[in-house]
């Protein structure tokens, strides 16, 4: 019987983030480095930092790691690496190199699990064209794994939280519900097929999304992770100085997510995210409660939210559908800034 990584944790993946409101307060106390070559820093709450090397090239840097969210070491490695690399894609970049970050209790878990996790990381990095050229491990319980990744992007083609424009249409590339399905799985409320489907979603690279964003000249995007669709959309709306309206009934959902939410299977992270968004969000009268909570479900290795000019949205959507993102959908619009930065209806 292989070792079950889920026995080491109560929550995993991006559900394990520090509550967003507290994090913002803590980060606001740090002095921001001042350097004209820093093109993107944490002040806009972006996915990765960007540093200009020349007029032709900028480096994109990011890191992400978390405790297990699936039982199998190899699958955990695949998902953690996909999630780490995703921040490079969310900035419109091409990932190049990575370092492993591993915390592993060598006395508590068989060491084969360690090598399985790393094997997953290497395989996913290879698929993304990324070379892992080093890393660091420490003894710690429960285990945690992820990558620090460097990518590159043309300085004029950086895609940020601040790049959404009034009139743009919002596209989401992956269905929501990974947090809810994973929580449901731990309570034995999901079918094996439902679990398998969200694992595949979490292992799906956002590389095609990044490529198509550059092709269609998208300038505003982010990936959906621990703060949920609503949290990340809010950060984008704030960064861009606009109001985003999301039509929750158009949002693609992982199979089983809605019925689990309906039964009260709503992970604590969703409530934390709601605490974060509600001051700047208007929830339309009659918004379905389960959809409202799904909008706040913490996603691990989620899809991209892209703000695209309306005349290009149809073509971009078609190409996403034929490039491994069959569930991609138009989920909302970008409007001039109103009294709430985010509207869910």
């Amino acid at each position: 019987m292989p070792f079950d990584l889920l026995t080491t944790v109560e929550t995993g993946g991006c559900s394990s983030k520090i509550p967003p409101r507290q994090l913002e307060e803590l980060l606001a106390r740090l002095p921001l480095p001042v350097d004209p070559k820093i093109l993107v820093d944490i002040s806009t709450h972006d996915d990765a930092g960007v540093y200009k090397i020349s007029d032709q090239m900028a480096l994109v840097l990011t890191t992400d790691f978390f405790p297990p969210l699936v039982s199998d070491g190899y699958e955990f490695g695949l998902i953690a690496a996909t999630n780490s690399i995703s921040d490079i894609y969310a900035m419109g970049g091409t990932p190049l190199l990575a370092l492993n970050i591993m915390m592993f209790p060598s006395s508590a878990i068989p060491l084969e699990v360690y090598s399985e996790i790393l094997r997953g990381g290497y395989d996913k990095a290879h698929e993304a064209g990324v070379s892992i050229i080093g890393g660091h491990s420490i003894d710690d319980y429960p285990p945690k794994y992820g990558l620090a990744v460097i990518g590159m992007v043309h300085p004029d083609r950086i895609i940020t939280n601040a790049g959404a424009r009034e009139g743009d249409v919002l596209i989401l590339t992956k269905p929501l519900g990974t947090g809810i399905i994973l929580a449901g799985h731990r309570l034995k409320m999901t079918t094996p097929e439902q679990l398998e489907a969200v694992k595949l979603l979490m292992m799906r690279l956002n590389n095609e999304g990044a490529r198509l964003m550059q092709k269609y000249n998208v300038r505003g995007a982010t990936d959906v992770t621990g703060f949920g669709l609503a949290g990340h959309a809010l950060k984008m709306a704030r960064g861009s100085g606009v109001t985003m309206t999301l039509n929750m009934s158009a949002v693609p959902l992982a199979d089983g997510a809605y019925s689990l939410a309906e039964q009260g299977c709503i992970p604590g992270a969703a409530f934390r995210n709601l605490d974060y968004t509600e001051r700047e969000t208007r929830f339309a009268e009659g918004l379905d409660y389960s959809l409202k909570m799904i909008a706040h479900d913490a996603q691990t290795s989620g899809g991209l939210i892209m703000a695209v000019a309306p005349e290009k949205a149809g073509e971009l959507l078609d190409e996403l559908h034929s490039s491994g993102h069959p569930e991609a959908a138009v989920i909302g619009v970008v409007e001039a800034k109103g009294d709430a930065a985010l509207v869910l209806r």
Binding site: A28, R29, L30, S43, G241, Q263, C265, I266, F271, R279
Partner: protein, 206 residues
């Protein structure tokens, strides 16, 4: 009365059992939920409030007993604002975009002693104003009003407790070398300060 025992369960299981219990109980039956961890308690309370169910909480040591009383059909109109003020601190909507900019230690100019008195009086009055402002931004010599020996420190803390954001200009703090003497507020760069002022509906500058 139906009892839902969630002791020993972690999130979201207590919520699922709560939901299940509410579905199974007859429409006007009272449902009692036993919860022994604070996170689940807070989420269950939030869930009940969001779904407009009336409830009361009694805490006995580590155990919380949530009693949900329902009328016919399970649909009860409750005093929603009560939950909003006790469980879910929210800025009252009218205050959302009022920003107070404190740019000096004194209110107005002319007589320094008078200016100091006026500023103290300004803060004493500001905490009484309904709704509380969305944020107070301190810059230039204004940051000194947030010092640990400031005559208005208590009022600033009170504003923060009422949900007002307290923002201190980090460049100014470094300039005066007072970084270690600021018990309350977030350090903010120009980007954040500018955004706060830019997005304000009203700016009050005493």
């Amino acid at each position: 009365m139906k009892t839902v025992d969630t002791r020993g369960l972690v999130c979201p299981a207590p919520l699922i059992k709560t939901r299940q219990g509410l579905t199974e109980a007859s429409p006007d039956e009272t449902v009692q939920i036993l919860i022994d961890n604070p996170t689940s308690l807070s989420n269950v309370k939030r869930y009940l409030a969001d779904n407009k169910l009336e409830f009361a909480v009694r805490e006995e040591g580590d155990l919380a007993i949530v009693t949900v009383t329902r009328g016919a059909g399970g649909e009860i109109s409750i005093n929603e604002t009560e939950y909003c003020t006790t469980d879910i601190p929210q800025a009252p909507s009218g205050s959302r975009n009022t920003v107070v900019a404190i740019t000096s230690e004194r209110m107005g100019s002319g007589d320094d002693e008078l200016g100091t008195k006026l500023m103290v009086s300004f803060f004493r009055t500001l905490v009484l104003v309904e709704p509380a402002p969305a944020s107070v931004v301190f810059y230039n010599a204004g940051v000194k009003l947030a010092l640990d020996d400031s005559p208005v420190l208590e009022h600033i803390k009170e504003l923060k407790e009422r949900g007002t954001g307290i923002y201190l200009c980090s460049t100014c703090i470094n300039h005066f070398g007072i970084k270690d003497r600021l018990p309350v507020g977030s350090f903010s760069d120009m980007y954040q300060i500018l955004n706060l002022l830019k997005d304000a509906d009203h700016i009050i500058r005493p």
